[in-house]
């Protein structure tokens, strides 16, 4: 795995101002982990950037979203914990 600078944990809907604020601070070595309502970013017309994107499978399922063809890697809570340790920094939006 490449260097992971900042892991951005994003739990807001794409309509929430903090969703856009988060996208505006992504660096090339960053990754986004979508949680809670943040997973709706994968079906909205608001484009997620080209950084590596993960999404909590539990939250995808609750919102009726398939784990396939969404442009994000589905993860469980254990993988989210791992990502927070792999990253040099974590920001929760």
């Amino acid at each position: 795995m490449n260097r992971l600078h900042t892991l951005h944990i994003l739990n807001k809907t794409p309509d929430h101002p903090r969703f856009s604020e988060c996208l505006g601070t992504l660096g090339p070595d960053d990754a986004v982990a979508l949680t809670e309502n943040g997973v709706l970013g994968l079906v909205s017309s608001k484009a997620l950037s080209s950084v590596q994107t993960y999404a909590l499978a539990a939250d995808l399922g609750a919102r009726g979203l398939s784990e396939d063809n969404l442009g994000a890697a589905p993860i469980d809570y254990a993988e989210l914990v791992n990502l927070t340790l792999q990253a040099e920094r974590v920001i929760s939006w």
């Binding site: 809670e36 309502n37 079906v43 909205s44 608001k46 539990a58 609750a62 919102r63």
Partner: protein, 116 residues
């Protein structure tokens, strides 16, 4: 006429939508005319096949399915919001009607309210 209860937040992330639904059920229980409008990110309430096993919350799909039985007049969904969230009549639960959330729609109701 009657009351329009508006839900503009998705389910599970916050409780505002659940509490809006309780308001609608209470009005219906007292024979007050009431409809639901899902707007903004709230249209995600209407997506089929919600599986909440992973987050230990009850699915809201059953609550919504019960709405007509309990006397809620209509389940409306803002067309533009549905498009933004990639929802169409096939991927939405049965009984939802597409509409445009604009001044003309609002004028059809004597009151409109959010739960929070």
């Amino acid at each position: 006429m009657g009351m329009l209860i508006i839900i503009d937040q998705p389910p599970y992330g916050t409780w505002a939508g659940r509490e809006a639904l309780d308001m609608a059920f209470a009005l219906a229980a007292f024979d007050q005319p009431v409809s639901l409008l899902f707007s903004g990110a709230g249209v995600n309430w209407l997506r089929k096949a919600q599986d909440t096993a992973g987050i230990e919350q009850k699915s809201v799909e059953k609550n919504l399915a019960a709405a007509p039985i309990f006397g809620i007049k209509a389940i409306l969904a803002d067309r533009a919001a549905c498009e933004r969230y990639n929802l169409d009549i096939k991927t939405m639960i049965d009984g939802a009607q597409l509409t445009d959330a604009n001044a003309e729609l609002m004028a059809q109701y004597s009151q409109a309210a959010f739960a929070g």
